[in-house]
Structure formats: structure tokens, C-alpha cells
Symmetry: C2
Subunit: 210 residues, 2 copies
């Protein structure tokens, strides 16, 4: 596609998408960069520039067509398809992610949740989703065509689980464990570090800068 999309642009695209979804639900047909900017606390010029990386789909004088822009961004960020997701670790976070509303809507289908704790295996989540044995992970990944693994295990075993996923051919990982994981070049990883966000907030509060 395009040569090189700046990293921050990629993340903002997802933010734009979310806003567009809201506007499309409200039945709005078009939206301008200045309106988006106001809602997202971003400069309109930045939004226009971001979008221009992928071509010009705005209309001068009018703005952007909400539905069209949504569809375009869907393609760009790859959610015009579905992704099969396996959760590893049936602790609180892992269990909270099963049936997490946003995910399914964006095409992330939770195909299973596994754990190594025999007391947890067999447990039903939301009375319909069983925790499976991690020892069957190979078959689960193969049979259900898992694309993305979500690491929700304690920090001590996070790297081990990552290695296992990589060994089994998984190319995308979302990591909820609070440490940096080492993965090969061709494996994409995204961190959701909850306690980091709290610390970041604490920093802001102590240093009073927005």
C-alpha cells in the first residue's frame, strides 16, 4: 500500500474510526476535519494530513462522508475482516475479555480461553464459555484458525507463553502482562499495560501538565 505510515497515525486512525462509528449511528452523513478535531482534541490539519496518507476522500466545502470514511479506515486498519482470538489465562482480566462488547463488534472473535490451572479448567464463563486446558493449545490454534493470542497470565509466565504462541505460529499478540516481551521481527505485539496508565496519570497529576 503506502510506503510508510507514521506510527502515531496508525493509532489515531482507530480513534477516528471510533468517532465515525458514533456519528454514523447518529445518522450524520458528513463530518468535517474541524468537527472531528474539536471532539478529539486534535488539530484539524493533523486529521487531514493523516487521512491524506491514504488518498483524498474528502470533499472540499463539505467534509468527509461518514460511511465512506469508515469503510476506508476499516480496510486500512484491517478490520474489514474477522480475526480469531484465543485468550491465555483465565484470571480476572482474561475472563473479563470474554464477551467484551467492543471486540466482537470490530471483528475480533474470541474463539476460546485456556488456562493451566486444573481448578479453572472446565469452569464456565458467562454460563456458556468453558475454560480449556492449555495442554490442548496446539489443537485449538490449528482447528480454530487462531490469528491472535492474548496473554493474560501472571508476569512470571508471560514470556514463556509468548514463546509458546510464537512456536505455534501465532503472528499477533496482545499482552496484558506488565513487562516487555521479546518477540521475533515478524510477530506483532501490542501492550495493554494497565498499571502503566495509572503511573502515567500519577505523573501527570504530580507534574500538573496536560
Amino acid at each position: 500500500m503506502i510506503d510508510k505510515i507514521p506510527r502515531p497515525v496508525a493509532r489515531r486512525l482507530a480513534v477516528y474510526y471510533r468517532l465515525l462509528k458514533e456519528y454514523s449511528k447518529k445518522g450524520e452523513e458528513t463530518i468535517s476535519s474541524s468537527e472531528m478535531g474539536k471532539r478529539l482534541d486534535l488539530k484539524p490539519s493533523q486529521i487531514r494530513k493523516d487521512l491524506s496518507y491514504f488518498g483524498g476522500f474528502g470533499k472540499r466545502g463539505t467534509g468527509y462522508n461518514v460511511i465512506d470514511l469508515m469503510k476506508t479506515i476499516e480496510k486500512i486498519i484491517g478490520i474489514d475482516r474477522t480475526w480469531n482470538v484465543l485468550i491465555i489465562g483465565a484470571g480476572k482480566i482474561g475472563r473479563a475479555l470474554v464477551n467484551y462488547p467492543g471486540l466482537l463488534q470490530d471483528g475480533f472473535i474470541i474463539k476460546g480461553i485456556v488456562d493451566n490451572n486444573e481448578h479453572k479448567v472446565g469452569l464456565m464463563i458467562d454460563e456458556k464459555f468453558p475454560v480449556e486446558d492449555i495442554r490442548n493449545i496446539r489443537q485449538i490454534i490449528e482447528k480454530r484458525n487462531i490469528d491472535i493470542g492474548v496473554i493474560c497470565v501472571p508476569v512470571e509466565s508471560a514470556q514463556k507463553v509468548a514463546n509458546l504462541l510464537i512456536y505455534l505460529g501465532i503472528k499477533g499478540i496482545v499482552n496484558f502482562a506488565p513487562r516487555t516481551l521479546e518477540v521475533p521481527e515478524d510477530v506483532m505485539i501490542e501492550d495493554v499495560h494497565i498499571s502503566l496508565s495509572f503511573k502515567s496519570l500519577s505523573f501527570k497529576m504530580v507534574n500538573r501538565e496536560k
Copy 2:
């Protein structure tokens, strides 16, 4: 304190802290910027520069004293104290955050969890933590000296809850709802957007760039 700390530096500090904690547990006395860099996939020069914003606490030829550096970063990011936290919304995520291990360790003390759903009020979490009625939020915030509110409500009511928290004098918010919230200048907010991370991963996988 210091004039202006680059935004990315602030976030990396929390990452350094996490690594230092690991090393201190292992009993390591010192750590060098190159060692940190290797573990965190960052250039050593960046780490040194980041730390130099706050003064030079390394020792040439030796590196940094793990404990000293930890204590220093604790002060900088403001976790050399405790923060009282109230969770709003007793859905899955909210309940998962109660007793989330990392938080207490870093000085974030969950002082309560409230909800507006009468079926949830009174429910015990982990057999010891009651869900309280959001109608009592004012008294809870005042009596328990709440510093930070965590928004775990559905996206539709997120802004409303934010407004309520702001009205009651809360200056720090962690937002788990998938939308950008508007807050006044002096209120600090940090977003944990789980589905954004999945989308960001999807983008990386489709565009194969690390």
C-alpha cells in the same frame, strides 16, 4: 521541578521503573543503560538522556544503582505516596480491577467500587468487597479522600460519569470506556482503550511493520 519533560519520557520512566523492580528483586545492585536498553529494546543513549532530565544519578564506569534509581523514579512519577482510587462501574472490567495485583503494589489503593444498577449494589467482590450505590458517591469521595476515579461504565454514560467526578472535585481519571472524554484543563485523564490496542495490532499485522 523541571521545565518541560517530553511526553514520551514520562511514559518510559514507568517502564524503567518496572524493569528496575525486577532487577531489585533479583538482588542486582547496579544496572547500565546498555543493559536496560537491551531488555527494553531502546537505545542506551535514549535512556541516559531520559534520566538526565532529572539529574545525573549514574556512576561512570559502573552504571546506575538499582535501588537509588528506583526511589528517584518513584518520586518523579509520584508513587512515593499512595493514591486512593474509586472504581465506577461494577461490570467485568471494574470488578477485575478490584484487587488487581499491580495497582496496590504501586500505591494505588482501591477504596471502593460503585454502580447504579440495583441488582449489582450489595454484591460482594472476592467475598469481601461490596459494590456500593453510586448515589452515595459524594460521601464516599469525601470520607475516603478519593484522588482518582476509574471509569468502567458503558460508553454511553462515560461522559456523564466523568462530569460527575469532576463536579465532585476529582482531578485524576483513568478511563476504560472507548471514547474520548472532555475534561477541563486541570483534570488529568489517562485512557486505557482495550479495543484500540486490538485495532492497532490488526493494523500492524495487515501492514507488516514493526
